[in-house]
């Protein structure tokens, strides 16, 4: 039923255009019913986008190859899970998913804050409608998923590299992150348009921002896990432009999450926060542009398409509009509150912001420079890993140090003596850890050794914070140690959930340094019966085996693995040849040893006619901590976001006290 899908998209476009124009007029002229009507249009657009999504899903499941999109991205032999995932594996489907998530999240955010939107932030609905208009227009006019053709006997299938379980979760989570940033952006811009400089938009969108940031961060890690297992070069993050496209808004959103606390606590940085949220949202659009325009050559990107110019235009409108609004409202945004001391929590947040934004801009320049060079000078250049690695170390190490120092510094100001006393334990632990690691030979990578020393410092500071907090609560007398710990975290979820997120970043750092700085690699051509030694492992090539899977022919090199004379089993590394797609993928073999915290990673690069195989084998130490960091990150974020009944009561009291403003 492609006609129904097309019609649903046209209806969705009409509704979001109405939400933008009627909502804008209602907000400008102060018309209550018209604003309610525009709000209903936003809600209805979610339903219309939902109908379009159901039509596409139904066509995918039924293998309706009369739809070009279905024929172009699936085949009859594609397993059902990947058939469903092909909804977002192509340009048009992913745009539809974007519209669905945007209208869904936008509707939910407005519905949950309806009184606030009606009485304080009426511009929220037209801004959300305006953003949704762009995506609905693209789907109706430029890149419809409901284009039809004469149905072929079978479809072209899915890109083999996308046929990985992580690819079923990575893109939707990424979209939830990208699109979720629309919510704080829309509320912030609505606050500016309404000249509301109070913190109600921050309170209303706090969890939306945290959730989007968590989705984005977790999606980046899932993408890294996919790259590690599927792309098969042995690493986890390659500074690919599309990977960077997701990293940039995440870095800026991280800066925003920290600096917005300074606004809440000290009523400072209001202009800066507006700039940050506009920057994070613009970068999420830029990331989408990079992935979809075809301007960059990346394994993650979609093919060459005509939508790049549209995206670029939209990004320009968003960036220029936000900048104009912020400049227009500068007089009311500025506050007289000043930083009291350079040694204070708010100062630490400010330093953290400077490093995060500097890092994001550095990454942005690395992504943009090749495009600029090609456009201006006609010279194709690439910005490689050394550039990014240098700045990751230059900005990353101070950031890690600040993660340890920041929580130990008091708000407003702290005397150097008090700070020195607080830092004594973490610094002592860090020095001992650094000394032990240097003695164990970690000095072969000086940056890695410094990183590990800083990581020990941060972990010690986090443990100290939990210990001191628990002791202080226990000293009040009425609670057991376990009760004191639970109530400490329960009563200060943002603070202690944040510390757990910091611990996750430390785990990520330890893993990244491990695989990047202390790994071992060996490449060799081996004949059946020959062995290869890598680190403490010995791999003996036993021969090849082939088998037919549902939609591919699989070839594998069988390798017997031993360590110190102990047989560890057999590993199978090889390639898949996909029938419908006429493409070959690398299928690496990974043996994870959680006790030793290392992976044995085998790539069978080339199968020769004489029976030999060209192997690349890596020992990746501590890489599993990177994946563990993802789980700890989600745990910390959940604690931070978990509803706090005391906080809700406090806010309800305040909003009730606001009296006339809370009517309607």
């Amino acid at each position: 039923m492609p006609e129904l899908g097309r019609a649903a998209l046209v209806v969705a476009l009409g509704l979001v255009v109405y939400a933008a124009i009627a909502g804008g007029y209602a907000a400008f002229r102060g018309r209550r019913r018209l604003l309610d009507s525009a709000t209903n249009a936003l809600f209805a657009s979610f339903a219309a986008a939902g109908v379009a999504a159901l039509v596409l899903l139904s066509a995918l499941v039924r293998h309706d190859f009369s739809l070009s999109y279905v024929a172009g991205h699936t085949s009859r032999e594609l397993p059902l899970g990947y058939t469903l995932a092909s909804f977002w594996s192509g340009q048009e489907g992913s745009l539809l998913l974007w519209l669905l998530v945007l209208t869904g999240m936008g509707s939910a955010a407005v519905a949950l804050n309806r009184r606030l939107v009606r009485t304080v932030l009426p511009w929220t609905v037209p801004i959300l409608g305006g953003i949704a208009t762009f995506f609905a227009f693209m789907l109706v006019v430029v890149a419809s998923p409901f284009g039809t053709q004469t149905a072929p006997a079978d479809g072209a299938g899915m890109n083999p590299s996308l046929q990985n379980p992580y690819m079923m979760a990575h893109p939707p989570l990424l979209y939830l992150g990208y699109v979720g940033l629309t919510i704080p952006f829309a509320f912030a811009m609505a606050a500016l348009a309404s000249a509301r400089t109070d913190e109600r938009w921050i309170v209303a969108t706090r969890r939306w921002t945290l959730a989007s940031w968590t989705f984005l961060g977790f999606a980046i890690l899932l993408g890294a896990k996919w790259a590690y297992e599927e792309v098969g070069w042995g690493g986890w993050y390659a500074w690919d432009p599309v990977e960077n496209a997701a990293l940039m808004p995440w870095l800026v959103a991280t800066a925003f999450l920290h600096s917005v606390m300074v606004q809440e606590k000290k009523n400072m940085l209001r202009v800066w926060n507006a700039v940050l949220i506009a920057g994070a949202f613009s970068l999420s659009l830029f990331g989408t542009f990079l992935t979809r325009s075809g301007v960059i050559n990346s394994i993650h990107s979609f093919t060459q398409s005509s939508i790049g110019a549209w995206f670029l235009g939209f990004i320009a409108v968003v960036a220029a509009g936000s900048a104009a609004l912020i400049l227009y409202r500068l007089p009311v945004l500025r506050t007289r509150t000043r930083l009291e001391s350079l040694v204070s929590r708010e100062a630490a947040f400010l330093y953290n912001n400077l490093f995060l934004v500097a890092f994001a801009l550095t990454v942005l320049w690395g992504v943009v420079y090749p495009l600029v060079s090609e456009a201006v000078r006609g010279v194709a250049v690439t910005v490689g890993a050394p550039y990014y690695d240098f700045f990751a170390i230059a900005f990353g190490l101070p950031l890690v140090l600040l993660m340890g120092i920041g929580p130990l510094v008091a708000w407003r100001r702290a005397s150097l003596r008090a700070l020195g006393r607080t830092l004594l334990w973490p610094a002592g632990v860090a020095i001992v850890a650094g000394g032990v690691l240097a003695a164990a030979g970690a000095g072969s990578n000086p940056a890695g050794l410094v990183g590990y020393t800083f990581a020990a410092f941060v972990l010690a500071a986090i443990v100290l914070e939990f210990a001191r907090g628990t002791r202080a609560r226990h000293a009040l007398g009425s609670e057991t140690w376990a009760g004191a710990f639970t109530s400490l975290v329960g009563r200060n979820r943002r603070r202690y959930g944040g510390y757990i997120v910091h611990a996750a970043i430390v785990l990520l750092l330890v893993g990244a340094i491990g695989i990047g700085g202390f790994g071992t690699t060996r490449e060799a051509k081996v004949a059946p019966g020959e062995s290869l030694r890598v680190g403490a492992y010995t791999l003996t090539y036993l021969g090849t085996q082939q088998q037919r899977a549902a939609n591919s022919q699989e070839i594998r090199a069988r390798l017997a693995v031993s360590r110190g004379g102990n047989e560890l089993g057999t590993m199978l590394a090889g390639k898949n040849r996909y029938f419908a797609e006429q493409q070959t993928s690398n299928e690496v073999a990974i043996r994870s040893d959680w006790l030793r915290a290392e992976d044995l990673f085998v790539i069978a690069d080339q199968f020769n006619t004489d029976g030999s195989v060209f192997l690349k084998v890596l020992v990746n130490p501590l890489v599993n901590l990177i994946w563990l960091a993802g789980l700890v990150f989600v745990l910390g974020s959940l604690i931070t976001m978990w509803p706090d009944a005391r906080e809700q009561r406090r806010l309800a009291r305040r909003f009730a006290e606001e009296g006339a403003l809370a009517r309607a």
Binding site: A41, T119, R421, R654, A664
Partner: protein, 112 residues
Amino acid sequence: MEIAAVLLAAVLAVACVAFVARPFLTEPEPVDDRLAEATPAERERVRLLEERDRALAALKELEFDHRTGKVADADYEELVGSLRRDAAAALEALDPGRSTKPETAAKVDARA
């Protein structure tokens, strides 16, 4: 199939239009169709309420940081006075002329 699709599309469009028009259909002649707009006095009240909550939260945080040893006694003594004054000033501004200074100080302590 095509007719069913067209019919379903028409149902969707009509349902959406009806839903969008609902505020006008349920309230054809409203007594007041204006959006509530905050007066300068109301905005000032919001500002003061935020100021009060910020000052009280800062006091609470300072107390906790002092108890955990993050803030030294001398720093605490220096900071607590000015934070109490900020909180008291915000409470006074919200409730002018109603409370005498000792009562306000008691309120600050009770809330913090």
